[in-house]
């Protein structure tokens, strides 16, 4: 079963706390998960200041600056994984390095009904 692990953190703290992970640690964790065949995709994201939001209403697209909603913690990255069940997904999420400074939302993937 596929799960998306969404990494949320306060962008100001993400790289500045004693517990903050270095890129090399995140890279190593993702590589290890890929070797085990667990990782489908994973990326870190640029800060929300770079975000652009697109909406289409009545056929008209509007483009605005910034994220969909202002929040205390921002989406900083994601891991799409294949796990046996929620327990395995949680065990994976617990070891995602930025979990130490932010939080990981674990969401099961919904297969489209087609």
């Amino acid at each position: 079963m596929k799960y998306l692990c969404l990494v949320y953190a306060n962008e100001n703290d993400l790289h500045s706390l004693p517990e903050s992970p270095h890129d090399s640690e995140c890279h190593a964790y993702a590589s290890k998960a890929a070797e085990r065949g667990m990782l489908i995709a994973g990326q870190a994201l640029q800060p929300v200041a770079t975000a652009t939001t697109v909406r289409v209403r009545d056929g008209q697209a509007t483009v605005t600056d910034g994220p969909f909603a202002e929040t205390k913690e921002q989406l900083a990255g994601f891991y799409m994984i294949e796990a046996r069940d929620l327990n395995e997904a949680i065990a994976f999420a617990e070891k995602i390095p930025p979990a130490r400074v932010g939080s990981i939302e674990v969401r099961p993937v919904r297969e489209l009904d087609v």
Binding site: M1, L86, A91
Partner: protein, 421 residues
């Protein structure tokens, strides 16, 4: 259960449902792989029993009969669905279920209940949902009974349960007892649910008794279930703690349902059988060398339970245990309870100082026992005005009728100038 005459079979099946449905369900969930299928199968198995047993007699192993009947009803259903969809090749599902059924596994496997317990108490579910699911699925209480236990509407509760089951299915929360490092954390969640159920029963044992199921007994039953299957000191500690507290049940209230404080209880009413069992359990837990908060609280309850009378209570021992407990779990409630041991060993003024220190945090502002305990110390120090103020504050913060009654009596006594301490 003894086998009844034919005319009594419906009530026999009723009693069986009450006692065994949780276990039958647990095994069916393992065999069928889903809550929904297992619940339908459970209902069908019991209604089949109601039809067939008066005619054919009660089978030798009723529980095994119910499990195998339930699983065959489930296969029937899958086959019927397949007939509806004959053009589609749907052999996969049937092959999976029947191959599992070929294994002769109709006997109830105790582990199934434990596995289900870990599913129902999974930390990914809300605390409300965990408690409701546990009572509904493992204890086999009806939705109405669980709703009345928690003073909610049956429809609200039913919805909560449906949502929780949907999450179990959609997020794929497994039916398993976690292994290794994960076990300790998950076990905490299980024990927490059991203790919540117990406390709900303990504090409500004087109110609206007719409507509410016996949650204390259910919690002890769950505690035994886990203790029988999992050799962990804290499980024994919690079971011991619940037994010590339950042993005082008959002595806790007078004939009006009013609360009697531990100090004033008639110790002859304490259940000695429970105390002995609890005492053995806590000794094993403490000897394990892995002492946790439940075991320590049980040990404290044990010092009370084994004292010949209130005056003979070893308060130094109790204070020592609280000090160890604080090192593991420093919470305001534990500090509040510890203040009683301070009052008995170092004097009421020291205890009052401790409470006033605690009040600075503001964490227990709405907790009636903080104010009631403080009032009690002030009353002992003859500061009646201040004590009155505390009791009134406590009264504002509790909805329990027996607590309210107790506080009103204290207030009345003080107003009458009968400070008897």
């Amino acid at each position: 259960m003894p086998v009844p005459p034919v005319a009594d079979i419906p009530s026999y099946v009723d009693a069986l449902y009450r006692q065994q449905s949780g276990r039958v369900l647990a095994t069916l969930i393992r065999l069928l792989g889903s809550f929904e299928a297992a619940e339908e199968a459970l209902q069908e198995a019991f209604s089949a029993a109601l039809k067939q047993w008066p005619r054919d007699g009660i089978p030798e192993k009723p529980r095994a009969w119910l499990i195998s009947t339930g699983r065959f009803k489930a296969i029937d259903r899958i086959r019927q669905q397949q007939r509806h969809q004959q053009l589609l090749s749907q052999n996969g599902d049937e092959a999976r279920v029947t191959s599992e059924l070929d294994l002769e596994e109709t006997d109830y496997i105790e582990d199934d209940s434990l596995r289900l317990m870990f599913t129902c108490c999974h930390p990914a579910l809300s605390e409300h949902a965990r408690v409701a699911l546990t009572l509904r699925e493992i204890c086999g209480l009806t939705t109405e009974a669980v709703a009345s236990a928690f003073l909610t509407q049956p429809s609200t509760l039913a919805q909560r349960i449906v949502r929780a089951k949907r999450k179990i299915k959609d997020a794929n929360i497994p039916y398993e007892v976690p292994q290794g490092a994960a076990l300790a954390a998950r076990l905490d969640a299980v024990l927490q649910v059991i203790y919540l159920v117990f406390n709900e029963g303990y504090s409500a044992s004087t109110g609206n008794r007719l409507l509410r199921p016996d949650l204390m007994a259910e919690a002890i039953r769950l505690g035994r279930l886990v203790a029988n299957l999992l050799d962990e000191p804290e499980v024994k500690g919690l079971l011991s703690l619940m037994l010590f507290q339950a042993s005082r049940r008959r002595a806790r209230t007078d004939h009006n349902g009013d609360l009697i404080r531990l100090h004033d209880q008639d110790r002859r009413l304490w259940d000695q059988g429970m105390i002995n069992e609890a005492d053995e359990l806590v000794k094993i837990a403490l000897a394990s060398g892995r002492v946790g908060p439940y075991s320590l609280q049980a040990a404290i309850a044990g010092v009370h339970a084994t004292a010949a009378n209130a005056e003979a209570t070893d308060w130094d021992e109790i204070l020592g245990l609280y000090n160890v407990l604080l090192r593991i779990q420093d919470t305001p409630v534990i500090r509040l309870n510890r203040s009683v041991a301070i009052a008995k060993t170092r004097g009421v003024e020291a205890a009052l100082a401790e409470i006033e220190q605690l009040m600075l945090t503001g964490e227990l502002d709405g907790y009636h026992l903080l104010h009631a305990t403080r009032g009690h110390y002030l009353e002992q120090l003859k500061r009646d005005e201040d004590a009155l103020h505390c009791y009134r504050e406590a009264l504002k913060n509790t909805q329990q009728s027996s607590e309210q009654q107790f506080l009103r009596q204290r207030i009345h006594r003080l107003l009458m100038g009968k400070n008897d301490e």
